[in-house]
């Protein structure tokens, strides 16, 4: 009898202890259970569906015109993905932090023009450094306005976009500037086992941003601040500093994007970045970010870029009229934004 009593007591103890709790609540506790759950997580579903849609578009377009899979088109697509991808990563970081940045198009134009102008006069290294410096300064001004002057980020970056656009137009005019020396020729046409260097630069940025968001404390803080500003303030996170750093990163990535664009197409004019901010936000949102913040990944942003660029290339192949293309791009952007907000409103 006594053994039975002890045995039942041990069973109850087992039931109420930690492992029992986990099993009762069906929370994955062992490694096997965790691996099973990864494949059901929301992000993985999103990545797989994005890759699926890209695959579907590829299959359909290849039947339409077999040059879609040709080397030239794929290389073009890869270069476009690199150019839009680096700015989509920055946009994703800002969106995760809960803010929005509308001035990146103007920043790209300005930094690119600085780069092209300085290359002829001062050499490549000084040009790159000054381009980066300009981007970081513009990012810090955006951060200052949003964080210190407490201007809502949408209006602050909108106003900054107007100001930077004006500064660009006045300093550099409306002419197109060419880099006649072909300084970056080796970067432009070089490949590493068939992959263009430009795409490798994008991969480096992607790995860096992924590491930042997943493995550095700053990354966790960005997610926290985007998720709930008040809660993270109560946790002791310096919300202002995190948001400021987010904007600075965005500025730096915008100048890096202008560098990539300059390497790719050796020319720059004041209107290069005109629609870029909305495309970057569209890519980040398609990849999982929401406008309220706290959600999203950079890998998702890159997959969103892949999807969007594939669609744009498909539009060109289908021979869509240029103004209808513009309207369609705007509609896709708005559809992505509306769908992402709707998911959040249900939560």
């Amino acid at each position: 009898m006594f053994e039975l009593f002890i045995f039942s007591y041990k069973i109850k103890l087992r039931y109420y202890c930690y492992e029992g709790m986990m099993k009762r609540l069906k929370i994955p506790y062992t490694i096997n259970q965790k691996i099973k759950n990864v494949y059901k997580s929301e992000e993985t579903v999103r990545y797989l569906s994005l890759i699926g849609v890209v695959f579907f578009i590829f299959v359909y377009m290849t039947f339409y015109n077999h040059h879609f899979i040709g080397v030239r088109n794929l290389r073009n697509l890869l270069l476009n993905i690199s150019m839009l991808g680096s700015i989509a990563i920055g946009s994703a970081i800002v969106l995760i932090g809960g803010e929005i940045d509308l001035s990146i198009g103007a920043t790209v134009s300005f930094c690119g023009l600085v780069l092209v102008t300085f290359i002829d006069r001062y050499g490549a290294l000084a040009a790159i450094l000054s381009c980066l410096a300009c981007g970081i300064v513009i990012g810090s001004v955006n951060g200052f306005l949003t964080v210190k002057a407490k201007i809502p980020s949408f209006i602050a970056t909108l106003a900054m976009m107007l100001i930077i656009k004006t500064i660009t137009l006045i300093s550099f005019g409306t002419i197109t500037k060419y880099d006649t020396n072909a300084t970056f020729q080796s970067v432009r046409s070089g490949t590493l086992m068939g992959i263009p260097y430009i795409f490798l630069l994008l991969l480096i940025i992607l790995i860096g941003a992924w590491y930042l968001l997943k493995h550095l404390i700053l990354g966790r803080h960005i997610y926290a601040v985007g998720g709930s500003e008040d809660a993270s303030r109560l946790c002791g996170i310096r919300v202002e500093r995190v948001k400021f750093i987010t904007f600075v990163i965005m500025g730096g990535l915008a100048s890096f994007t202008s560098f990539l664009i300059m390497v790719n197409t050796k020319a720059f004019d004041s209107f290069v970045g005109t629609g870029l901010e909305l495309e970057a936000i569209a890519a980040a949102v398609v990849g999982g970010a929401t406008l309220n913040g706290g959600k999203g990944t950079v890998v998702g942003a890159i997959l969103g870029v892949v999807l969007l660029e594939t669609m744009y290339t498909a539009f060109n192949f289908l021979g869509m009229r240029s103004d209808i293309q513009q309207i369609t791009k705007a509609f896709i952007l708005i559809l992505a934004l509306l769908l992402s907000s709707r998911k959040l409103s249900k939560a």
Binding site: A149, I217, R220, H221
Partner: protein, 332 residues
């Protein structure tokens, strides 16, 4: 600072007028004043409607597009030869319907108003471009054209309409329950809900009012020019937001009056006017608008100068947990 803000803004405006007259005496000439009053009327009517929306904490980017499409509807329906009130009512109705759609999406679906109005703006511009195929439409009805050119004591009729709208909207905002509800929803939406205010209905009515206002401005615009182009009214949204914000209406919502917006309208219009008179490079207009918005918002909110975060490098520490048991995490 908030209490005597109206007085301060009016003083700033008077000071600006004096300075501008000293710089360019042409500023006070009747011809320039009529030109100034025209700008004030068209964008001012939009700004008066926008005041409601910003007090409520939302934003409306589709005002220029609604202006354009209502003008297109009015001018196209003129050609059918119907009596004048049919196109006018149709144009105003289109504005109300689009505002209603905006309000439904914002209130019922809880979508951010920035996105919704951006979507509406893009859609309407697309429709306008597809319908007109890029060319302006002109109007041939003589009554309509004479209404556009009518003057009463030398001042065009639309300026009087602007004054009438200002008086009506001021009454609406300050002395009706609709206005009080707008303030309540803008200040604290949760307590408004708990006070029994139907927040959804307030927002829908607000956006419908804005749509009506934009359509009214479109009516006056197309009457004055006797034609409409699909690119009219582009970038009016930024001007209108700047006008409201200069006037001291808080961008986060909950405070502000029409009497604060009117000097904002006047200041912004005079600023643009003096730039035109000085033959300033048109590129500078963007910068002036952006700077004015930023300065107005900084003056509204002030700058927090305390910045005592000096442990910067601690952010770049790794996120991994050091030892498994106990769950000690290496954050600050």
């Amino acid at each position: 600072m908030r209490r005597n803000y109206t007085l301060k803004i009016w003083l700033i405006f008077i000071f600006m007028v004096i300075v501008f007259t000293i710089i360019k005496p042409v500023f006070i000439s009747p011809r320039n004043l009529i030109h100034l009053l025209t700008q004030i009327s068209f964008k001012g009517i939009l700004a008066l409607g926008m005041t409601f929306i910003i007090i409520c904490g939302e934003i409306d980017l589709s005002v220029g597009a609604i202006l354009c499409i209502s003008g297109i509807v009015i001018v196209s329906l003129q050609k059918t030869g119907a009596p004048l009130f049919v196109p006018v009512l149709a144009g105003l109705g289109v504005g109300v319907i689009i505002g209603f759609i905006n309000g439904m999406l914002v209130a019922k679906k809880h979508l951010p108003s920035f996105i919704v109005t951006l979507a509406t703006m893009t859609a309407i511009r697309g429709f306008a471009l597809l319908y007109t195929e890029g060319y302006p439409i002109s109007c041939s009805d003589s009554t309509f054209i004479s209404l556009g050119k009518a003057k009463f004591i030398g001042i065009p009729v639309y300026c009087y309409i602007f004054v009438i709208v200002a008086i009506v909207y001021h009454f609406l905002l300050s002395s009706t329950t609709f206005g009080r509800k707008t303030y309540a929803v803008g200040s604290n939406i949760e307590s408004a809900k708990f006070s029994g205010i139907n927040v959804d209905r307030v927002k829908i009515e607000l956006f419908a009012l804005m749509g009506f206002t934009a359509a009214l401005s479109g009516l006056l615009y197309s009457a004055r020019l006797a034609s409409i182009a699909p690119t009219n009214g582009q970038l009016y949204e930024i001007d209108v937001i700047a006008m409201v914000v200069i006037g001291g209406v808080s961008i986060h919502g909950g405070s502000g009056t029409i009497l604060q917006t009117i000097p904002g309208i006047l200041i912004f219009a005079s600023l643009t006017n003096i730039l035109t008179l000085n033959n300033v490079n048109p590129f500078y207009y963007y910068m002036v608008k952006g700077l004015v918005i930023i300065i107005a918002l900084i003056l509204q909110g002030g700058i927090k100068w305390k910045f005592r975060d000096y442990r910067f490098l601690s952010l770049f520490k790794s996120n991994h947990v050091d030892n498994v048991s106990g769950g000690k995490s290496s954050n600050e």
